[in-house]
């Protein structure tokens, strides 16, 4: 009797363990048949990186027949753990991951053992520029007026960022360097929501941050966006000039990209990149992001690698 239960137990355990691998085992069918594709998201569930990653995967899934993405959140270690895990995963196309702009910054601060060179990028769905955002009642409307105000009140203007050494702080420092002014950097470690609250509450004078976080406030006339640090004007804010147009070549962008480990076979990468190319033609995909106040970017494959490399070098020089 005991033997029988024991045998039954072993049988059920085996079934469970194997079923957890879903349909595992080598199959002769081409990628991605027969196996789930794990996507490591190095940020917590529900954050900006997470929602854009899940959104992108949902549309990618429709373009590639038989693929099933399984997103896994690994926010440990400020995201480094997740990125390292993607870099070290088997390069067979069945483990992909998201990487964020921190990948270009952390290696120079001794916080990350992996760099952009450890990945083969597929596509970057978002690259949010830093935008100079000020309260609606601020006494400056243009970049020149703002810079003049900064010079008059040197070191007094309170500029919010998302933590010292984080991307929006670097954007503010770049601004200081370009215009030879001094501002006071006030960190809000919880991120954009807290910065916006401080801006509306009149506790800070300006911020360099992702303009998608203030879409509602902008439309309601509570904040002004003076300029963005992007190459081209944003589709969401066509009236807002870029720093480049105003004669200052400043480009700071917070991107997130879907990547594969470095040595992933070229044919697998091609399938994924083609699909990523195709989803940009899907109006629903664009709508998904636009509705959330995000301007989706069309940066695929080598362009994406180039962007990661550029930013890596930019921050190497800054940090």
């Amino acid at each position: 009797m005991i033997k029988k239960t024991l045998i039954a137990a072993v049988v059920i355990l085996t079934i469970l363990s194997t079923s957890m691998l879903f349909a595992s085992g080598q199959s002769d069918k081409p990628y991605p048949q027969g196996k789930d594709v794990k996507v490591i998201i190095p940020k917590g569930a529900g954050g900006g990186t997470d929602t854009s990653a899940r959104g992108m995967l949902q549309f990618l899934g429709k373009k590639i027949e038989g693929i099933n993405f399984v997103p896994v959140n690994k926010p440990d270690g400020g995201g480094v753990t997740g990125m390292v895990e993607t870099a070290n995963a088997d390069a067979d196309g069945y483990t992909l991951g998201m990487v964020t702009v921190e990948l270009a910054m952390f290696p120079h601060q001794g916080k990350s053992p992996v760099t952009y060179e450890d990945f083969a990028p597929i596509a970057a769905p978002i690259a949010a520029p830093a935008a100079l955002i000020v309260p609606a009642d601020a006494p400056y409307d243009t970049l020149d007026e703002f810079v003049a105000y900064c010079k008059e009140n040197s070191g007094k203007l309170q500029v919010g960022n998302s933590g010292m050494g984080a991307i929006w702080h670097i954007a503010a420092m770049k601004f200081e360097e370009e215009f030879d002014v001094k501002v006071k950097h006030v960190p809000y470690p919880n991120g954009t929501a807290d910065i916006v609250a401080a801006l509306l509450g009149g506790h800070i004078d300006a911020t360099f941050a992702d303009p998608s976080g203030v879409k509602g406030q902008y439309e309601a006339g509570q904040v002004k966006i003076i300029a963005t640090m992007s190459a081209e004007r944003s589709n969401l804010y066509p009236d807002v000039p870029t720093f480049k147009e105003l004669g200052h070549d400043l480009t700071i962008r917070a991107w997130a990209a879907l990547v594969a480990p470095k040595d992933t076979p070229a044919d697998v990468l091609q399938i994924l990149r083609d699909a990523a190319d195709a989803i940009y033609d899907d109006p629903e995909y664009i709508q998904y992001f636009v509705k959330q106040g995000i301007d989706p970017t069309h940066i695929v494959g080598d362009d994406c690698y180039e962007m990661m490399k550029q930013d890596h070098e930019l921050y190497e020089q800054m940090l």
Binding site: G44, A45, G46, G47, D50, T51, R54, Q58, V72, N73, K74, P75, D76, G77, G78, G79, V80, T81, V84, Q109, G110, K111, P113, Q158, S162, G163, M164, G165, A166, H169, K184, H185, V186, P187, Y188, P189, N190, A193, D194, V196, A197, A198, L200, G201, H203, V214, K215, G216, Q217, E219, A220, Q222, Y288, K291, Q292, G293
Partner: protein, 499 residues
């Protein structure tokens, strides 16, 4: 007029099904330690795309309210908070349910508290949200710092054993919160070269370790070798008696106020609200000695407080477009996908939508209450599951829970480590809640302390010049020393008697 439109929008069969489904899943997620409210909402977020209009949002609201409530069930029956927001509920919920053998009464009170808090905050949201949002915006760094200090100060009244040890545990928690990348300077602190610790020590595994794992060890010690007697649990009613309701009514109102306000201050949430509500219930009580041994107010207060956060957190989200916590941040995303842009314009242009969201939250809370009251009899059965089956089940659950939060195996080791530590700290009369409060409030306190000084160029006077900040700090000092004073006072009185 708007209200009628809102009723039509909300009361569609599919919407109600979504709401009920969400609430049920929410209660389950809340009751299982390690599965957080945010995770539940994020998991079901894709389902909201299937809805047009506000149906999907209603489902998320159901999960949100259900999960906050669900945490109290395991807190009361197993002394294991399902979510951090229910940690305070263990203090009196478990003693009343197990030691006094009245699990039905305890669960009834916690359900009543949750329902009351939720409904109260939903109504507050309807009536005065723009006003409250304005007050919340007044909070700058000095005010946040003072709020954190006030939160920490309640450790003295939570520590039933030794006040000194409570404070020491609190300091330990505050220190644990400093581990990782320091957002104020970008420096890496106390990680000993590991990548794992860089993002800070994970809070959920520690919570599970200190409460759940150490509790199993204590139960093993108590129950080993003793035959388990079947407890006869008589439940005449799931709904609390009129007498009980009368006793806790003022506590319910006070806690709901606290919870709603804390919810509407961005960056603070149910965990802080429940502890502060508990502390205030004890301070205002005429029979403080009952607290820690199954005081009715001690169960209602944290539950009313944490569920009241739900409506509170919606206030800045809807009126300003600023989410009050992680869960509302995800809901903000869901609203945007449906083409609803929260913020000041929403109240000008889409009043029917605003009212249907208000109504949705109200109904979500009521559905949660109905679920709760009708399932109490079922929940209570957990008590009579023999320990030999229950203990290994909870053991395995703590492991899954610690893992599920971050999908990290290191977290399992952390959980067991803190579980073993918690067992000994329990023996030496340390307060687990004190350590948890330290971890919850550590970052808030330090970051805002240093942030305030940055804004004032290092001038300490900044904490005195801000009136809200100064008031909160004075209250904090009073709250810190009042239990010490009252115990010294009592001792003096006793001495007089013996002399």
């Amino acid at each position: 007029m708007y209200v009628i439109e809102a009723f039509v929008q909300v009361f569609q069969p599919m919407n109600i099904i979504g709401l009920v489904f969400g609430t049920g899943i929410g209660i389950l997620i809340g009751a299982l330690p390690g599965l957080s409210v945010n995770m539940g909402i994020a998991l079901l977020f894709p389902l909201t795309f299937a809805y047009t209009g506000i149906g999907g949002i209603l489902m998320l609201m159901g999960i949100y309210c259900g999960a906050i409530y669900g945490g109290s069930i395991s807190a009361i029956l197993l002394n294991t908070p399902g979510t951090p927001a229910s940690a305070a509920t263990t203090l009196d919920g478990y003693p009343l349910a197990i030691k006094q053998n009245q699990p039905g009464r305890a669960l009834g009170l916690s359900t009543l508290g949750s329902l009351f808090g939720g409904v109260f905050s939903a109504i507050t949201l309807m009536l005065i949200s723009p006003l409250l949002a304005k007050v919340a915006l007044k909070f700058s760094k000095p005010e946040f710092f003072a709020l954190a200090i006030f939160g920490i100060s309640i450790i003295t009244s939570l520590s039933s054993g030794s006040v000194l040890k409570g404070l020491m545990g609190g300091i330990l928690g505050l220190f644990l919160a400093t581990i990782g990348i320091d957002a104020m300077s970008g420096e890496i602190r106390f990680t000993f070269g590991t990548i794992y610790l860089m993002g800070g020590i994970s809070f959920i595994p520690i919570l599970i370790g200190l409460f759940a794992f150490s509790q199993i060890l204590l139960t093993i010690e108590e129950s080993y070798g003793k035959p388990q007697q079947k407890k006869v649990v008589k439940i005449d009613r799931s709904f609390p008696s009129l007498k009980d309701i009368k006793k806790v009514l003022s506590t319910l109102i006070r806690s709901s106020f606290i919870g709603t306000f804390i919810g509407c201050v961005p960056g603070t949430g149910g965990d802080i609200a429940s502890f502060i509500s508990y502390d205030q219930a004890k301070k205002w009580s005429k029979h403080k000695e009952e607290f820690g041994n199954g005081a009715l107010e001690g169960i209602c207060a944290p539950e009313a407080g944490n569920n009241a956060v739900s409506g509170g957190a919606f206030i800045p989200m809807l009126t300003l477009g600023i989410p009050g916590d992680g869960a509302t941040a995800i809901m903000l995303g869901a609203l945007l996908v449906q083409g609803i842009q929260p913020g000041p314009l929403l109240f000008k242009e889409q009043m029917p939508t605003v009212y249907s969201l208000f109504l949705g939250l109200l109904i979500a809370n009521i559905v949660m209450g109905i679920f709760g009251f009708s399932l109490i009899r079922l929940f209570v059965k957990v008590i009579n599951v023999p320990k030999k089956y229950l203990l290994p089940l909870i053991f395995s659950l703590t492991f899954v829970g610690a893992y599920a939060y971050n999908n990290s195996l290191t977290d399992i080791f952390i959980m067991v480590g803190f579980g073993i530590l918690g067992y000994f700290l329990n023996k030496f009369e340390f307060s687990m809640s004190a350590i948890i409060i330290g971890i919850i409030l550590g970052k808030l306190a330090e970051a805002n302390f240093r942030g305030s000084l940055i804004m004032s160029d290092g001038d300490m006077m900044v904490f005195i010049q801000h009136p809200i900040c100064l008031t909160l700090l004075i209250v904090a000092v009073l709250s810190l020393i009042s239990p010490l004073l009252s115990s010294a006072f009592k001792r003096m009185k006793n001495r007089e008697k013996t002399v």
